[in-house]
Symmetry: C2
Subunit: 731 residues, 2 copies
């Protein structure tokens, strides 16, 4: 796990793409119709919705079960296809248990069906917890027992669909969201389990009439580049959308995409062979850093599903090996795709790389691709044709082929949240743990991608070393801007401050930074408002608030960590953080300046690390200086108070606020400016402020108490009164 | 200072008794009238009050200055009479500075007169801070400079008395209280400075016409015992009292005093000589433990003011030594007085001891003593006669002599606060630091006690080794009940909990323990209310609240320290604690059950130390069990939850409340019952409660959030929501 490429996160696994019931050669007796499409949730009345969901559920549940007909015996359920994932018995039970868990969370049900199974089948692979995968930890039940359990769940869900109260529409906030989520979840696993079956030893799998590959292959076409004009892409799925979506799809995203060229076809096995034969896997100079690590660890010499036999190359399909279909798309992970591009770049001198997510949307848009409809799709998608890839020149989309379908296409873009992203309460870790810049988006779906997976708006991401029915299309274009940072801050203090500055109000106490600045402004009515300084700015909220009123606002804090929050927001990024709820449970939160009406301030603020007791000389000439909750955290408040007038213009205003919580860990006792007995009498901090500031300032407002609240957990808060004093520099 | 008898506290010093202008031989030309009595503050109009205070102030200020006429030269101001107190120059300035400091605090003035002097003259001796007394720390000014400073203060105070706005009456809450406090404070120092002069080397003092002793002595009378019938004593000074009082005098005190016998006379030098001659100072077996320490340290062989010369015993007075006046009262500290009593007891077989404070009041009442009035008093008191003691058989009071006046009388009683005690905001450490059971009350006043000191209601206390113009009267009576504990709890956590349970409300949040019990009662309408258990009772408030509704309420906590707070209150005592305000500044607080309407519950509660995870078997058969903020502090909440039904009757009710703030320092991670992801889904503490309690309980109320606030400082609070669930035992 330290090499970072040995497996994928539990979540990536959970949202990995699942296989569905294929219709061999397009004409299958057992399943009369095409696999059901993801339903329009805004369509029709309640009775219709029950009917639609019943059908969608049954079709999915049954298709998923049929996948396991490809296993030769019970042992094939227990043997792991790859070492870092559970055996297939787990996935057999898992999609059923998922329904139970989510239905419990939306309170559509109140009790479990099988406590033991539901504990066993709940958690997938977490790469941080290798011991989850000790076989000894699991006494797997027999497949027949799991089938019986699945039957119970099937009956349960059907009963709910038929009889549970239903308030239309079935949307994000509806308890029924659990049902559609369970179905779409199972469709993801339909695909990922098909990959596991493909990774199983040949002797553990068998051919199934429902899962027959396409028997169609020929000479690979010569690839070429197609120009794509510059243009804008836009995604804006909202809560009124007619189709189910995972959390990461919602929100608004708009981007201007420069003109670029893109390969007409997905890279075929034939085209990729050149790279293999050029020694692509033998020396690592075409590989990115992370890819080099993966290559060294795995000692791969060719794509994972390629099999070298004495009589030439074969390709491993789900249940068989076939002579290499050279015109089918190559299936690789991101590292292999990227190494190919780098090799191609050095061969051709062109700026070859993988497309970004936005470039993929641009191709989709210019190729005028349509969503899968009721009829058989014009793409090797949704199991409409067979249980395998197809030639890269079979499905044309505009000037391109396979813009969607056949195999997923790796992009250069790590998954990140759109503006307005929020987690769903019953599945808050679907995407958030993948906002780590190590999970890249794959687009377009494969032959087994069904339901939500086929939508333009869907966004699935995997660790870059992960295998899927996935290949790539290359583009020739310029450099890529990195995606905005989308890490969730999990450090407790940093998260608490993010919430304190930008988050919600508690106990009816207004935002402290904003209240301070509003109060300051009332004392500054006739005063110049050119430069303001926010000393001890922490996460920076007051700096932005000051920038609403001043020409320029500077935030300075001793902590460079805090500064990053302000800097990030000033860059137009969204602040993301987890809030401790209870014990280890957290909730996910994000805020941007736009949410707070502060988007216009970004060009007027700057942040800097600095020491309030020893300010750099350039920080001077201010009309206003704020020191909020600062003085009782300084190592020498006297130093600060004794020199601060030098940074203010005459007539300028200094605002101090503090709860005077003196602690020797911040301020040595001998540096306290008050809050002790002096000459036998109480000498408060305010007395000390007056003594230190009296020479250059007069008190023009206060003292008055301004409250603030810092959230520690869902139920525990610091509720503090900060004493505010406002001082005018008189000489 | 470790022996506990080498000096006295600053406060003891500050409230030590001060000398005033004596009228030698009762007829003094320079001071025409008797020393002014402490004024009636409820008498007359505003103009009269200004006149009265002007007179009282001037008389005091001038009398005090005249005391220093007894010093031979400037050096006598700088040489310390005793090693552990300041030289007299300090006390010369101190009483003036005190006016300035207290006037600043009530905002009758806004600026200091002399920053340097007022720093130098502010703090007396604190026995914990020996370095305060390094001579090197002080560059004392010349007495003439101090006199000039005193003249400034005199003018300031007179100007205020004549011109400052005055809202009648002058009472505890009036800013003018600072003026009367300053005067009474100076009268205390009149007495204590007279003691220092008496302790000065003879060559540093000189006779003054204003400070002449009585030249009257004869044969000491034979002492005898006078019977005092049983009776009640009562003190009840309140804020409407007509005379100034120090904080410790206010409140209500009533006591039944058993019959006893008391010596007719104070113990004379003659009577005490028997003890000295019997070897009383040579072997320590008559001395109490603390007295033994003092004796060993000082190697005293006779009373401190006795001087042994070749021609016999002499007595040191203020400025001279005179042949021993054997009929004057002996002057000793508590240890010497107590040793005499113990010796007398062993000699006579009678239960000889010092009187308690209450016994002194009883003697005062049966002797029908009157307060000092406008006329010359019938006691050697208030400087009405001379600057020395007088024969013990000179002033008769009923069947006794010298019930008041002549010398102070040591009692057995350490000073403690009466019910209703509170500190005064401008002098919050006048008495509180002496509530340590090491400061014993002295009663009756001496020849130099003036003003408040002469009142029956006054209560002065000193360390037991301290010297004053003080002696004793012995009584024969039974054992003494110890006084109620009057320590101020200064431990931060203990104090915070005392305030949390019994103190004020903050942010409008009602008392948590009371709210919990009120909520519980609403679910118990038709249920039996015999026995209630408050598990994790901490300071015990909920136990008392339960006792309002149940026949019996038991409070159990793991912490014996917490239990003591409940036990103390159940014993009818007052809980006293300091609240952190800001840095080192604190405020003093006290609460009793009577303040909270809970006085009637004391006979229904009991407190016990115990472990909620391993309860002793006798704690069973309850109708109601409360576990407030407990489960997230247990080392094994599962153990507690799994066994608690055994302690409840069937149909009985368990109320849990907790913010679920799980911390591994209290509960090892593996013992948490929830607040983590379980099988991939959020498993809250409430889920855990349901899992653990489901077998024996049903949830009948909640979950609902109940807020509480814990005050950390004047401006910093924990504001928490506790989740309440109520469970009925069903089997």
């Amino acid at each position: 796990m330290h090499t970072g490429h040995s497996t994928l996160r539990k979540t990536a696994e959970s949202n990995s793409i699942a296989p569905a019931m294929a219709k061999p050669q397009g004409d299958l007796k057992t399943l009369q119709t095409l696999i059901t499409r993801t339903p329009n949730l805004r369509d029709g009345d309640e009775a219709n919705m029950r009917r639609v969901l019943r059908n969608y559920f049954l079709n999915t549940f049954t298709t998923y079960e049929s996948l396991f007909e490809c296993l030769v015996n019970d042992q094939a359920f227990y043997t792991k296809p790859i070492s870092l994932r559970h055996p297939l018995i787990f996935y057999y039970g898992h999609t059923a248990t998922f329904f139970v868990n989510k239905l419990l969370l939306t309170r559509m049900i109140n009790t479990r069906i099988n406590q033991r199974f539901e504990s066993m089948f709940a958690v997938g692979v977490d790469e941080m917890s290798w011991d989850d995968l000790n076989d000894g930890n699991y006494q797997w039940p027999k497949p027949a027992e799991v089938k019986a359990y699945r039957d119970q769940v099937r009956a349960l869900v059907l009963n709910l669909i038929d009889n549970a109260p239903l308030q239309m529409p079935v949307d994000w906030n509806n308890p029924w969201w659990a049902i559609i989520m369970g179905i779409e979840h199972e469709r993801i696993h339909l695909e990922t389990s098909s990959v596991l079956i493909r990774q199983h030893k040949l002797e553990l799998v068998k051919s199934s009439p429902h899962w027959q590959p396409l028997r169609e292959s020929g000479r690979a076409p010569q690839n070429s580049l197609v120009k794509v004009a510059a243009g804008q892409v836009r995604l804006a799925k909202d809560k009124t959308s007619e189709h189910y979506g995972w959390d990461n799809e919602y929100g608004v995203h708009e981007a201007d995409v420069n003109a670029f060229e893109a390969a007409k076809f997905l890279v075929s096995n034939q085209e990729y062979l050149q790279f293999v034969e050029a020694g692509g896997y033998l020396n690592s100079h075409n590989w990115e850093e992370e890819g080099k690590g993966w290559l060294a660890f795995t000692k791969a010499q060719h794509p994972t599903f390629w099999v070298k036999k004495t009589n030439g190359w074969y390709l491993r399909l789900m249940t068989e090996e076939v002579a290499m279909p050279w015109d089918w798309p190559v299936e690789v992970n991101y590292h292999e795709a990227k190494a190919f591009c780098n090799w191609k770049k050095s061969e051709t001198g062109l700026s070859v790389r993988l497309p970004t997510e936005d470039e993929w949307y641009r191709i989709y848009d210019v190729a005028d691709v349509k969503e899968v409809g009721a009829e058989k799709s014009n793409a090797n998608l949704h199991l409409d044709y067979a249980a395998s890839s197809s030639p890269v020149n079979k499905f044309a989309h505009g000037d391109f082929y396979d813009v969607v379908g056949n195999v997923w296409q790796w992009t250069e873009t790590p998954i990140y949240p759109f503006d307005g992203f929020e987690v769903h309460s019953i599945y808050d870790d679907f995407t958030t743990p993948t906002f780590d810049e190590r999970h890249n988006l794959i687009k377009g779906g494969s032959w087994i991608s069904c339901g939500n997976e086929t939508l333009r708006s869907s966004r699935y991401a995997f660790r870059r070393h992960f295998f899927q029915h996935a290949g790539f299309r290359y583009v020739v274009s310029g450099d890529i801007k990195p995606v905005p940072s989308s890490h969730y801050e999990t450090d407790k203090l940093m998260s608490e401050y993010a919430e304190f500055h930008y988050g919600d109000e508690y106990f009816g106490v207004a935002n402290f930074s904003k209240s301070l600045v509003d109060l300051a402004i009332t004392t500054l009515i006739d005063k110049p408002k050119r430069k303001a300084l926010d000393l001890g700015c922490a996460s920076g909220r007051a700096t932005f608030e000051l920038a609403k009123h001043f020409d320029q606002a500077t935030g300075i804090d001793f902590s460079a960590r805090f500064i990053t929050q302000g800097v990030q927001l000033a860059n137009g990024e969204t602040l993301r953080y987890t809030l401790a709820d209870e014990g280890e449970l957290v909730s996910y939160k994000s805020r941007s300046l736009a949410d707070l009406g502060l988007a216009e301030t970004t060009n007027k603020v700057e942040f800097s690390q600095g020491d309030a007791c020893n300010l750099k000389s350039q920080f001077t000439g201010y009309d206003f200086i704020l020191a909020a909750n600062l003085i009782d955290r300084l190592y020498s408040p006297a130093k600060f108070l004794g020199a601060i007038h030098e940074r203010l213009n005459i007539g300028g205003v200094l605002m101090l606020s503090s709860p005077y919580t003196w602690l020797t860990e911040h301020t040595p006792r001998e540096e306290w400016i008050g809050a002790f007995k002096k000459d036998g009498e109480s000498f408060t901090t305010l007395d000390g402020l007056q003594a230190h500031l009296g020479k250059h300032f007069r008190l023009i407002k206060g003292p008055q108490e301004l409250p603030f609240v810092i959230r520690e957990t869902k139920r525990k808060f610091q509720h503090t009164l900060s004493e505010v004093t406002v001082w005018e520099r008189i000489n």
